[in-house]
Subunit: 100 residues, 2 copies
């Protein structure tokens, strides 16, 4: 009932980070935890897979620091979604925070 609100914010975070640099599962979990968001592997990995399947992210396996990771990057379609959400976020911010 409430959780989905956080999850939505988490997804926007993911798109935003995937726009700036490659992101991978565990790294994201740590980054999100730093921001006060909790998400476990059972939710995050299927989410990344769905974002890839939907064409918003691309995936490339790479070995870094002796660890096999799947790095995700944003696609043009993903960037379009992100920009769309940015616009909605801006509007929501203005209504819910600025004008009270």
């Amino acid at each position: 009932m409430i959780r989905d609100l956080e999850l939505a914010f988490i997804k926007i975070h993911i798109l935003h980070h995937a726009d700036k640099e490659g992101v991978f599962g565990i790294g994201l979990m740590a980054e999100l935890a730093r921001h006060g968001y909790g998400i476990g592997p059972g939710t995050l990995y299927p989410t990344l897979a769905k974002l890839e399947k939907g064409g918003f992210l691309t995936c490339a396996a790479r070995t870094v620091e002796h660890k096999q990771r799947k790095y995700y990057h944003i696609t043009p379609k993903g960037r379009a979604l992100l920009n769309n959400m940015r616009a909605k976020l801006k509007e929501l911010y203005q209504e819910v925070i600025e004008e009270q």
Copy 2:
């Protein structure tokens, strides 16, 4: 995959409006449509019922303009949630919009 992002924003909208004044189903649908959000009765009414059940909104039936409506108002618990989401929204805004 994407829809839930909009839905989260819609729920925050609902809480925000229910904080300012009484809101009811169809009125909300029109208001949200004005903001570019689409939500049908099959989603909105269960959502309102769940928010009430969760203790975030209270409900009072009233007859206005010859129409029987169920007006929802925010509760202290709902306001706490709203403020929590406001804080997260602010943080997200700063990260995703301001600092690019």
